[in-house]
Amino acid sequence: MSHLPPAEIHDHVYGFARSPHVETCPECRRAAEAVEAERDALKDALAGDRAEAPYELVVKLTRIRKPRAAAPAPRAAVSIAGLAAAVAFLAGLSWLLFHKPSATVPAAPADSGNVPRKDEIDRLIGFLKDPNPLRREVAEAALQAYGGTAADRLEKAKSNPALVDACRGRAALAPVRVPSRIDVSPWAAAFESPLKEKHEEGSAVLRDLGFAAEPVLWGFLDSPDTGVRERAAGLLRRLYTPGLDTLSDPLELKLRSTRATFEFLDASLTDLIEFIAGTIGTSFGIDTRAIEKPEDRRINLSVKDLPVENTLRLALESHGLAFVAAGDLVLITKPGRALRTPRGPTWLEAATARKMELLVDALASPDEGRHAKAAGELAEMGEDALGPLLQAYRLLDPDAAARCSDVRRRIAAASGAWLVDEPFGADVRRLTTAQKDLLNRKISLTPSGKSLDETLRELNVPFERNAPCPWKMCFAARDLRLAWFLRAATRPYGLDFYFQGDTVVIDTAARVAEAFEK
């Protein structure tokens, strides 16, 4: 009996050419088994643990690129007019962020949370033929934002081939729209007001309402008032700009626009914050849970006439640190520890956007049986869900808002982070005048390394602490409102605070949430 040559034995084992002879010939069968054993040994030798895709990579590769940042502003103080505008904006935003919607708010006439995608796109395609040039222009920008998602329907509608090509060349996206129960008419009336202060307040609120304000904004494009038409078009363009996250709060603007010269030679991190705080008149804090012994971190840096924001970034990146604007102060922490919700609309891959919409709908629904699963799946979607959940918190009834807030905290907790812009604890209660006065009290601090208890005693703040806080406080503050000191001294540490009479009570965030948000 002839046997197979080695090459054919290998062809049989590796599947290049199966040979029935191998099964019938004991010697060839043995030769094949030896090759199979070698193959198994190689598989075993080369097997290894599977690496998981880093979360940051997934976000980086699937998030849309942000628009190119504007050139840094020239060195100048913020103008009085700018301050007034900021105050108006903050007033409207504060109302929106920290006011829990009343259960008696009437339902909005149009609920934009569940419009079928093709209907949204067909409506925009219809606007391409509108006699109003502003509506045509905004519709075209909106369709480009949808990108690949809109391409097929544009082609079917025999739209401008250049627009079809432009859409096909872009990622297939869709916005995440959340259900709305809010009546926007008071803010719409303010938006149309000829008084600058009023229409700026209306603009700020409609901007933060996101797609809930979309129907009224499209309507404003037909206003006889040019200013109203232009403002509405501006807000609509903003809605249809994926990846937009450029709205900065006043502190971020200050860091970006203030230029300074610094030379740090073997300076400690605590020296750095004290020096910069004194130079530019901004308060700083260090998250000592994330950064042990900040006094031992050394900084060597020499910069000339650079925006303070850049200086901070340069000084901190070499230590793997970052900073975040937390209200009235800049908090130094580790990347990913303090999450800030992106300030623009959330645009995601079309299927993911739809999935998120359905989950937020389920979380908002009166059917309790749907809440737990929806909450779990939204938590798994991670930071992408923060924006829509914050939107939903603003727009829904108190019970649904509390569920949204809870999921946001779960998302932050899953990565060991806290949310800079999450209203909870004392923020969600009606405060007495005395309590508000206490929170608005201005304080000054140096990086003393004292405990929270020692610091509060020195500040003459009546308090009671019901949860451990072993971390030392490290703040360089001047005229810092006590409210922001308390937030920065509790929330990064899994704590929170509320008032009992005139006493500040500090407890774990979970216990505070449980006691005060039901």
Binding site: A41, L61, T62, A350, E377
Partner: protein, 173 residues
């Protein structure tokens, strides 16, 4: 609700679910890059660049093709370019044409205590042979898919595989 395990690659591509595709294939691509480049740092960069290119050209992916072969194709081309920059020596032109003389498998290769030595021997293979070995034994791709991924004929896969086996057996002889 569907889980990732139930959704095919083609369904994910059609839905534009890039995050799911990255999560599904990061491990295999990183594993291949680490094997071929010999280190985790270079492998991370190569994996990131592979997915960046894949996402940029996802619109070019033809339905009906193997997405797995496609992503490995991008990775293998990238790694080959990186390797050429570091080692500009030309490939042996005879490498595609003939299968080697076969010695039988060495029993020492099969012993568990020699696993590390075997892995180290794979590391020393020329890149083109190592790529086929990694795709087949580490990533479990069948020869037809390896051919698709590398843009070569199935016979070329066969020859490279057998030359690799011959070289590894020689190390243990």
């Amino acid at each position: 609700m569907e889980t990732l395990l139930e959704t095919t690659d083609e369904e994910l591509v059609r839905a534009g679910d890039k995050a799911a595709l990255i999560r599904r294939y990061y491990g295999p691509v990183f594993g291949l890059a680490r094997r071929l480049l010999g280190g985790a740092d270079g492998a991370r960069d190569a994996a990131q660049e592979t997915f960046a290119r894949a996402i940029a050209h996802l619109g070019d992916f033809q339905p009906g093709r193997s997405f797995r072969a496609w992503i490995f194709s991008i990775a293998a081309n990238l790694i080959r370019d990186l390797h050429r920059r570091r080692h500009p020596a030309p490939l042996d032109p005879g490498i595609e044409e003939t299968i080697p003389e076969f010695a039988p498998p060495d029993a020492r290769m099969l012993r568990e205590e020699n696993r590390e030595r075997l892995a180290a021997a794979v590391e020393r293979l020329p890149l083109d042979l190592k790529t086929v070995v990694a795709l087949h034994f580490q990533e479990d791709l069948p020869p037809a898919e390896i051919a698709e991924a590398l843009g070569i004929t199935p016979n070329a896969v066969r020859i490279r595989l057998y030359r690799a086996l011959a070289a590894l057996r020689k190390e243990f002889a």
